[in-house]
Amino acid sequence: MTRIQDIGSFSTVREAGMAKLVPNRPRIGVGMGTCGAGNGAEAVYHAFAEAIGQQGRDVKLVSVGCFGFCAEEPLVNVRIPGKPLVVLRRVRTSDVGRILDGIASGTVPDDLALCKIEEWDHLTAHIEYGTGFPKIPSWQEVPFFKPQKKIVLRNCGLISPDDMEEYVAVGGYQSLYKVLIDANPELVIEQIKAAKLRGRGGAGFLTGLKWEFLRKAVAEHKYAICNADEGDPGAYMNRNEIESDPHSLLEGMIIGGYVMGATEGIIYVRAEYPLAVHRLTRAIDQAHQSGLLGENILGRGFRFDIQLVEGAGAFVCGEETALISSLEGFAGRPRPRPPFPAQKGLWGMPTNINNVETWYNIAPIVTKGPAWFSETGSTKSAGTKVFSLVGKVTNTGLVEMPLGTTLKTFIYDVGEGGTGGKPVKAVQTGGPSGGCIPQEMFDTPVDYETLAQLGSIMGSGGMVVMDEDNCMVDVARYFIEFTHSESCGKCIPCRVGLDQSLRVLNAFTRGRAAESDLDRLDEIGRMVRDTSLCGLGQSAPNPLLTTMRHFRHEFEDHIRAKRCRAGVCEELALSPCENSCPLHMNIPRFLQLYKEGRIDDAFEAVVLDNPLPASTGRVCQHPCDDRCRRRAVDSAVNMREVHRFIADTIFDSDRFDELAERIVSRKLPPTDRKIAVVGAGPTGLTAAFYLALLGHQVTIYESNPEPGGMLRYAIPEYRLSKNVIRREVELIRRLGVEIVTGVAVGTDIQLNDLDNQYNAVFLAIGTWKEAWVYLAGTESKGVYPALLFLESVAKDQAMRLGPRVAIVGGGNAAVDSARTARRMGSDVTIIYRRERKDMPAIREETDAAEEEGVRFRFLATPHRIVSDEQGNVKAIEVVRTTLGEFDASGRRRPVPTEEIRRIECDTVILAVGEAVDRDFARASGLRIRENGTVEVDRYTLETSRSKFYAGGDLISGASNVSNAMGYGKKAARNIDARVMGPGRWERIASQLSYGSEIPEEPVPSARHYAHELPAAERVENFAEAVVGISAEEALEEAARCLRCDIRDHHH
Amino acid sequence: MKKVRVATIWLDGCAGCHMSVLDIDEAILNVARRAEMVYGPLVDAHEFPKQVDVTLVEGGVSSQEDLEKIRTVRQRSRLVVSLGDCAVTGNISAMRNQTPTRKLLERIYVEGADVMRVVPSDGVPALLRHAVPVHEFVKVDLHVPGCPPSAKAIAFVLEELFEGRVPDLRSKVKFG
């Protein structure tokens, strides 16, 4: 290797490097960091090597580092002379042939192309790769890269980390050369200070100041140390930096060594990073051979050496004094500061320690100057920071962002929102000792001070995104468990305080925590934070304190309701499906009972868990599907269809009376307590069922002529036959529930009367008030609210529709109206302001509507309704929307444009949502929330008025059947506890015993779906459009259950 | 003056704390004057009374029976006082906690016995996994550590309680 001693030898090396980096033949670079290798990059590399060799192609193949987009690994970059560098994503060995073929003909496969790079600013040099490929987006146009600014990662994924010449080609070691030529160390320190570079290890101390301390220290030996002990779970920026561009680290350290007057450099790197150690060792060797380390560096008479030390992977060694202890051969335990390392560090000598990333910023600052550097970032935090964006976010990877960028930009722009479109709940910054920041605070700029104010830290740059499937109690427990196991044990608060915290948190996740434990955790957390010896203990309580501050209700759920909504804390749930079911049906039980051929028992088990099993069997949103573990094998068990089958079989048989009698026999002895239920919708019926079972005298008041609520009057006949509801209501009547129809509370009977006559009152009147959009023309003839329309059809008094119907909205009411209108012979268009995937309606329903000929106009919002001289609807004008920022629902907010389109139509149905009848809510004298819903205690459903309870849509706003029924069940339980005292609820649960054998192997059958009638046939009438599964299919379906409710895995 | 209704109860302890209550010299006269002893090993009452002003608890909670007792005591007492280290810290009663109960019982009733080598189960309350201080199960209003607490401390505590105050014991008592 050429020894670089002067400008001439420098140029020779640089030219050699350029010839490798932008050769006059095609070059393929395979991203071979640990991350790429883990995703199959090695096989891809070998496939390329083999194909190039066998086919004798004139292509240069190199392995490069990582370009940062983990979600798209393995990444391969291809450059054909004169053309831009193209980054290919998710390259498989099977793609190798066509990539090489493409290169031979001067193209790249478009389907694999992620982006192109025409020119690249390596900061220390500018490289022009070429132009062309107009169809491939430039890298700055890719959302993941767009907000990024690559200073630290300037070379990563582009140059070969194994070849020093390529590093020199992109301006490497130029800064060092400049510093040595200028021979003015104080000036360099002034520049670093002026750049306002702060330590990237997390504490954010000014690097220039730290350098000045060491420069001024007088001693025989002085040490410059690089802290590469990256121990945070989920953080890998340092690993990637070293693996992709080791020479940048060396250059930063040699400059630092010279400027600070250090005699030796030491890199303390995790032994768990073998590839980083390997590449760094080679880079150090190359630097030695080239005269960049050792004696007489660059011929300027400066002597400096760098030693590599592998750490044993203790998290606490990230703390600088513990790192020094470890270097000295002692156990990694921190020492009190003062004395600070700059006074008394390694071997008692003055020592400077900087994080890997800090060192990477040095060369660019020297080359481009402090003013350029401090242009990026916020006032107090200059420059960029590399973050590992991981967790429940669409785009994961290493991102380098200007400091001061808002969390919103990280999560929604770079990350492109939550995984699978789910709303993001929180983000945890700073690694295991960082805090959790809730979605409401995503406007927060990411800099040292702001994060600290929120109880979090910058740390080394971890960023873990969380959604509703993350339990925040478990998150706190997980991180405390980590710091607990990494605590060195030297000081009492960290050693014992974390142990005590972990005990309490474990009690939470097992449902054994008490109310007082909240205060206890808070007290311990503060004490550990305020009194611990080192940074580990001082920051360890952050995840705990912030989750308790921002997600206190989740902690309370674990105590009061013994529930973990995310379904993470396994001991609080029977099984994932049970946990997800708003009625908490014991699903594995009824599946098992049916599998054992005990259909009567299965019916009892189903009904005691869910009094409307046939209706819900048709219309439930089935959240259980999303949680079923069987998905890991093939697809979820169709639990909904099995209980529909069980219910239908009994309801339709001549044994209904017998089984109804069996349910009635489960009633507890009469209590002589009288309970009124207002509203005979799913919520009220459910509450009445359980209250009657508990032995109370129950009366339901319903304003409509028949019970059933939305099930009866909103959901169309083709989805749910009225006969089905009648059977279910019949069963509830047989339990002794009196249903008084045609009586409106507030008009025909007053709340005060109920108060006087009953021991408790349950209000479940739902959301029957139509939300309305106010736009020009809504007063025209032929404009209907969806609910009113559906109700008119359900009452056989259907409104007249014109031949062309436009429906505004994307929920179930919109789709129900559309399919109903199709059955009435109209031509239907649904107008929705977002995209299809954002529609709140059940997906099967939307698909069915499309099959039936319903048209969709997405990204459109109504502008005005046009009518003729008689005032009849003629057309609707819509504005085209584009999608803007993400809102709290995790969807992009529609933003109207100027573009207006006209849709000719004769009828407009507005299905833009339902709300609580505010007049009733206000007249009731109950405390109501801003959105009009009735305020209740989260756990008991008690309203502000004694004896009055409320549930269903009335308290939640428009929701769905199973959620509503869940409230009914909960209300019954709490009302009973109130009028009778606790401990009675368990007595009405099914006591049937059932098999608890885990299937040795999952039965191979695939999921059975219910049978849809052909679209052409079903659109002809209102008969049920979906026929349930058969007895055999139900049996196979039940057998598909993996029985994750069974905990003791004895066999 | 209405007398203060005082109960004492003996859980897993050695009776030393009860002895110490008697061993407070002339202060005992004040106790006799001010207190009505309504329950305890020193009183002939079979059931724990419904309403008690102060209950002094000796001993840790070690068995199922102790647990039931202390829950009743808590329900029926205005103030619950943990008297002595066993009630306050577990102390001697907790020294068995490092050994699993089954092993412990076998060591004593089987290995250590010459006759009837069997672990008794009939009519003997089941041991809890650990013997623990009273406050791990019920709210305790005052802790009086000591093995036993000094006569001076006990006299002071009773005097203060009779006056309707919860005494401040900081620096007046010690463990052991």
């Binding site: 605590s487 060195c488 009492i492 608060p493 960290c494 | 280290d85 810290t89 623990v132 305790v140 802790h143």
Partner: protein
Amino acid sequence: MADKISVRIDGEYVAAQQGQTILEVARAGGKFIPTLCWLENLSPVGGCRLCIVEVSGVGRLLPACTTPAQDGMSVTTNSEKLTQYRRMALEFLFSERNHQCAVCVSNNHCELQSMAQRLGVTNVRYPYSFPKMRVDASHERYVLDHNRCILCTRCVRVCAEVEGARVWDVSGRGIHSLIVSDMNRPWGDSKTCTSCGKCVEVCPTGALAEKGFGVEEMVKRDRKVRRLAGRRGGHV
């Protein structure tokens, strides 16, 4: 001659010398700051955190034993928060191992016990861990009872800094930390132990004791050791 400085402790000016720690200044001025791991003339480690104090203008609490006093510094040694934290630290210690004072050789002569009394700890609110700990009675004259150990590391330091034998060290980490002799061999097998007994004398609790003493009989006399340590002229 060291530079004279002036430090305000709890509102009173106290004369001090540059290089003294806050604790040294306070002690010299007759001010009490609680300590457990600190021992005069041994190198301070700042492990027990009982000596935390508030210093005006500093957002964090600082350990008095390792923080150098500076001219013009204003120190508060006692506040509601400090007392609360100190008590919690003691409660943590009691909950961590098995401290049955009543049957301990050091009963009534124990620094942990007397500190609890002094700071008004009358009960431990946190659940006890009840760990199963060993007792090493292999040494012919002394015994190490891990049940009573509070990991103050005075034994480690006195052995290394004064006796120069380096018998003791801490193995494991976090809640599993344990004092060990000679690479975790029984103390009685130690090739390095000189049986000088300094570790026993400086141990604040009954963890290290002389054999043959019953309950309450072990009285530690660390004055000689402290004087010896002082003669060595500062710590390593």
